[in-house]
């Protein structure tokens, strides 16, 4: 598995890129050249310089520093959202696929209801209901997304349960725990890894969108979507302020999408890249 990972250039590249961005975010207080909140009115809309490598924004704040600090809410919240979604979805999906009967009926009907709401509208509704707040954004995202995972995981469980290798395990009395941990979860995990890395991209865009609309991360806090929001008023006079977070979001989201594809190749034992 590890050797296949090393051989796959896309997988290594995208994972490395995401890791570097994450480390930059963690080390932001150390490496950022300026305080992201400090306004410097005299130097507003400054272009590239040694003191402000990416220039300054409409309030004279250092764009590079704000970008670096912005990694934490942008990436961190997206990953948190995905963890929550997968956790809840996997639990529900496994329960439904494993125990069948009444538990399955109840869970799947709830899933059906959840899936019949348009997701973006649901996010707005939940945020409006619970108040504008970062936690609520995450909650809303988990709330609308878990059903997809529950359904996918249940389908996976049911599909693999019928496979002969699990039927054999059943036949010779292999403990259920072994079947679950060694057979079922690894089989499903491959599909799950692909879908979830694609969905981290989705979560980033979603959180950024909400921040852009002023429903997510609030004003002075540096977040890439919120930075785009601040930049939109000065789009013509100072385009760099818009272009930098915009490009950063595109790169990060593309990295996650490519990673999803690459992971599928890595995790599928039949894709031996010779």
């Amino acid at each position: 598995m590890f050797r296949r990972f090393i051989k796959n250039k896309t997988a290594v590249g995208t994972v490395a890129l995401v890791l570097i961005i994450a480390i930059l975010g963690i080390l932001a207080p150390v490496i950022a050249p300026n305080d992201p909140y400090k306004t410097d009115i005299i130097n507003k809309f400054a272009s590239f310089s040694w003191q402000y490598p990416f220039g300054t924004d409409n309030l004279g704040r250092c764009i590079l520093s704000r970008m670096l600090y912005g990694i934490r809410p942008t990436l961190g919240l997206a990953v948190l959202t995905m963890l929550g979604t997968i956790g809840l979805g996997a639990l529900m999906g496994l329960l439904a696929g494993y125990f069948r009967g009444i538990i399955e009926e109840v869970i799947m009907r709830v899933v059906d209801v959840m899936l019949s709401f348009p997701s973006q509208v649901m996010v707005f509704a939940v945020v409006a209901l619970l108040g504008i707040n970062v936690q609520n954004v995450i909650l809303a995202n988990v709330f609308i997304k878990w059903a997809w995972y529950a359904r996918m995981i249940r389908t996976g469980v049911m599909q693999y349960r019928e496979r002969n290798f699990i039927q054999f395990s059943r036949c010779v009395g292999t403990p259920e725990r072994f079947i679950l941990i060694r057979h079922l979860i690894p089989s499903i995990a491959a599909d799950l890894a692909v879908l979830s890395s694609l969905d981290v991209g989705w979560a980033i865009i979603n959180i950024s969108t909400l921040s852009f609309l002023g429903l997510g991360v609030q004003a002075p806090t540096p977040e890439w979507g919120a930075m785009l929001n601040e930049a939109k008023n000065v789009l013509t006079s100072n385009p760099t302020q818009m272009i930098i977070p915009g490009i950063a979001i595109v790169i990060l989201v593309s990295a996650f999408n490519l990673m999803g594809d690459a992971l599928r190749d890595v995790l599928d034992p039949k894709e031996v890249a010779e």
């Binding site: 002969n164 290798f165 039927q167 054999f168 036949c171 010779v172 009395g173 292999t174 057979h183 034992p269």
Partner: protein
């Protein structure tokens, strides 16, 4: 050893006359048979006659609509202990070998599952590696296969690994669902010889599902003909030529003509 009493199995039909209808197609009709210990029962029938379904009923994987399976007099489907009992005694080789091994497992892990089943019965395995090697050599492979993945083996090799895994459990009964039909004639004979040897050595009971009459005459003691879910004949193999059943006769004759064509 295993007694099958009046088993009926039906599946929900794909084509329903009414929406939400629950019409069922009956696949097995009132099957009753006794599998004595230490013998090999061949189940013969054409495609779709319900052989695999019957196999699944015997394995404890499919609860019949009605009827009973008794293992040494204890019902298999009526209690947990009955099923546990069966799991300790039975092992199986499935028809479709492509999904019989977890594609994420190496061959050694595949075989380990069988070895673990053996250990659960309280039989100690001292040296795992030599045990795995022994199993592979038993089915005509060698230890170089241990670290491969199932997709890196040919179909016949994989099927032999599955047979090795079934033997690894050291069961008392092994069910073969077309286990050797995908192998070439030479390997078939080799495996059947191996099975006969094992059977004598360990006093095993076999249920051998196939559509190939020649292998039945080679391996089995008794033979049961299944036609559209009904038993049409049940005979000892040595009395096979005297069968009166029409379907069995037809099968016999078709083989004889086929053989003579080949020699001609």
């Amino acid at each position: 050893m295993i007694e099958i009493k009046n088993v009926n199995v039906s599946f929900k039909s794909e084509i329903q006359k009414k929406i939400f209808g629950s019409e069922r197609v009956q696949v097995l009709h009132d099957i009753s048979i006794n599998i004595p210990e230490g013998r090999c029962l061949g189940i013969l029938g054409e495609s779709g006659s319900g052989k695999s379904t019957m196999g699944r009923v015997i394995c404890g994987l499919l609860k019949p609509d009605s009827g009973e399976i008794l293992l040494n007099g204890v019902s298999v489907y009526n209690s947990r202990t009955g099923k546990k009992n069966l799991q300790k005694k039975l092992s199986v080789v499935f028809q479709d070998y492509t999904t019989s091994a977890n594609p994420r497992f190496r061959i050694k892990d595949v075989l380990m599952e069988g070895v673990r089943a053996k250990e659960r019965k309280g039989k100690k395995v001292k040296d795992i590696n030599s045990e795995l090697e022994r199993l592979l050599i038993l089915v005509g492979l060698d230890s170089s296969y241990l670290n491969r993945f199932p997709h890196e083996l040919s179909g016949g090799q994989l099927q032999r690994v599955c047979i090795a895994r079934a033997v690894a459990c050291e069961p008392e009964i092994i069910l073969f669902d077309e286990a050797i039909s995908s192998l070439d004639a030479h390997t078939q004979v080799q495996i059947m010889d191996l099975l006969l040897e094992l059977k004598d050595k360990l006093n095993l009971t076999y249920v051998f599902i196939t559509h190939d009459l020649t292998s039945v005459t080679y391996l089995c003691d008794d033979v049961m003909f299944l036609y559209k879910g009904r038993i049409t004949d049940y005979q000892e193999v040595k009395n096979l030529s005297q069968t009166k059943d029409e379907y069995a006769r037809k099968l016999l004759e078709s083989i004889i003509t086929y053989d003579s064509e080949e020699t001609a």
